[in-house]
Symmetry: C2
Subunit: 400 residues, 2 copies
């Protein structure tokens, strides 16, 4: 097995589509340092674990000695990529785009090796383009070919408007590959069409064509739909250690193995071995490893202990917020309604929400279920320290 | 009947579609000097009688006191307008475009009043546009709306490629109306869709919308298809007086009345009166009037006389080419074959063509049909002057 074979085996891992493999192998065998393109659109200020799948793949290339070329689509974002969506995205201001791009990079470098990453913005070239340049590019693609793209075909069939500018987007993204002379472009499954356009435009320009490698879309916390902010089934890369750990612990066993493969890059053989162990233990290890990746080893270990205190040993977390009676109740008052006390902590969105939790039997005081939203608490109760749990994960203490 | 009513009656004459008539009438009644837009694409160096139909309409507006705004689509021509065609036109160089534009204008001013014409080139504005400006324009139209256009619908259905740039063309043409703040745009029937886009873009820009008036496409010499260079059934505006007159005389009676209406702006009442006269006389009058328009009164009269000499009175034209025996035959030769003599005149494409004409019985010498291609002519015959007719319109003399 040659070095090129070994590299390709790693590159192929978890890939959904991999085109141009033979040509890529030749370049690796010839000792070429590959230029590996990944495009990101700074349409939102933060990234999710869904983005981690492609960043992990890019990191893998870096570890093999190749160059990661991270393209910030600051120019293309001014149009809005409709891939996999049923409507055109709104136009962002340049300030929003730049702000988002900065946050993106901060988060991306938690996974990528910053030293081995070439960061480029496509406004570098498109910012200088004239109308004629744009029209020349538009000549390079047909309407029919564009309407073959899955999401466009669906929108056209269902009479959902497609703006003509959306037909230009894949061309712009493809043109990036010409400018960057990428050897391979990686992306999510929904980027396959766009990445193939890059291959075509390179060929039209007389350049060697890039390989195209797509990664599966990560399933969300619900185990059903792809991870997306729109479905509220996501973990953001900048989420707190506590939230991150808790959310990972909430996924199903089946989803857990997908996360091991796509987020921790475990091989099928490693996963088979893990399946012999207790699923709860494996889920804790997954949550610990991922939390450690973004918040450090100590944070991973700490969150595991806290989680075990609350859920496995019936204890409460060490770090739950503590309130003094005097902070929550009007000066001199001898008693107050539980709902008013909870509202005063500002841990809940509204009094209505607190009443709803009580009525659902989701509120406990010193481990006893409370069912009366009007229940009065006296200052003397508070003197003995009250531990209140509302919902699954909100705890607080009230002391004298 | 108000002045506005009278103007509208003239404007409506020969129109196929006229949208926004009420609004236009208000502007005329308010005394506004209308800005009347006509766009021409300098894709070819010369114009035909087909172009005359819309130029006549534009001239009519000038005669009513309005401003003709003639837009030379020098920028849009760099893309190629696919209207009514089944393929994208080739891209022209800037030199070719400018050269064509110059010739266009020379010919257009044979019909338009130069003093009342505002000539604009759309490179004035589009030449300054950036990529972002272009993308913003592209946002203003949907793919579905564009695919409703007849020719696009047909090409899409028949799987004939449509380049994405062709979807941008109507937007560029429409944008011209925003830049020029036109009150009405005129064009051929095949321009209806594009002119409506101009109306929409003006509305989107918060401007008063232009009226849209389309004129029928002129039928060609064959009386069947629209006049077009591609069908070789056209009369060019810069054709010689002789060719122009001859071609008009070749049309059918039915086509003649259409030409009276669209090329000489005769009203239905006038045409009804003419139908009472002899069609051959009316056709000569049409040919004389149109030839006079482009070559002067004298030329019209002269061509009519020549035509009558040849076709009505069996005489020959006064101005047929004359060759001396010594020019056509090797020095000292006592005789030569007729085909060699005709070939030496260089009036025929090939000897083969000459033989074909003789074999078809289309060649006469001094009014006697010749049937032997090998027939020898002696110098003594030439001394008596030979008049040779080959085909319907080629005459020549051979003298000693």
């Amino acid at each position: 097995m040659t070095d090129a074979d070994r590299q390709l085996e790693l590159i192929r891992q978890n890939a959904e589509v991999f085109l141009g493999e033979d040509e890529l192998k030749k370049r690796i065998a010839a000792g070429k340092k590959l230029r590996v393109k990944l495009g990101v659109d700074p349409t939102r200020p933060d990234l999710t674990f869904g983005h981690m799948v492609v960043f992990n793949k890019l990191r893998q290339f870096q570890d093999l000695g190749h160059t990661a070329v991270l393209v910030i689509g600051d120019f293309t974002t001014r149009i809005g990529d409709p891939s996999g969506r049923s409507t055109a995205r709104p136009i962002l201001s340049e300030e929003e785009i730049n702000e988002n791009a900065k946050t993106y990079l901060d988060q991306a470098f938690k996974i990528l090796d910053k030293e081995k990453t070439e960061v480029r913005h496509n406004s570098e070239w498109f910012g200088k383009w004239s109308m004629i340049d744009t029209l020349r590019l538009a000549r390079q693609m047909t309407v029919a070919r564009m309407l073959e793209r899955d999401d466009f075909a669906k929108r056209y069939a269902s009479k959902t408007p497609i703006s003509i500018v959306e037909f230009l987007y894949p061309l712009l993204q493809g043109r990036d590959s010409v400018e960057l002379q990428s050897d391979i472009e990686i992306g999510g499954t929904d980027q396959l069409f766009n990445n193939l356009v890059g291959r075509q435009l390179q060929k039209d320009a007389g350049l060697p064509e890039q390989a195209v490698l797509t990664m599966p879309l990560l399933v969300g916390l619900d185990g059903a739909r792809k991870m997306s902010k729109s479905y509220d089934n996501y973990i953001a890369l900048n989420e707190s250690a506590k939230e991150m750990f808790g959310k990972i612990m909430s996924i199903s066993d089946e989803t857990m193995w997908t996360y091991y493969a796509l987020l921790l890059c475990k091989t099928p053989a490693e996963i088979t071995a893990m399946k012999a162990q207790h699923p709860m233990e494996m889920k804790k290890q997954l949550a610990t490893a991922l939390t450690a990746k973004f918040h450090g080893e100590a944070a991973g270990k700490y969150e595991r202990e806290q989680f075990e205190n609350v859920f496995s040993k019936g204890k409460i977390r060490d770090d739950i917020p503590e309130f003094r009676w005097g902070e929550l109740v009007a000066a001199g008052a001898e008693s107050a309604a539980l709902t008013d006390i909870l509202a005063a902590t500002k841990l809940f969105p509204s009094k209505k929400e607190i009443r709803r939790l009580v009525e659902q039997g989701a509120v406990k005081m010193n481990d006893e279920k409370i069912s009366d939203p009007a229940l009065k608490i006296s200052a003397s109760d508070a003197a003995k320290t009250l531990v209140i749990q509302a919902g699954k994960r909100t705890f607080l203490k009230v002391v004298a």
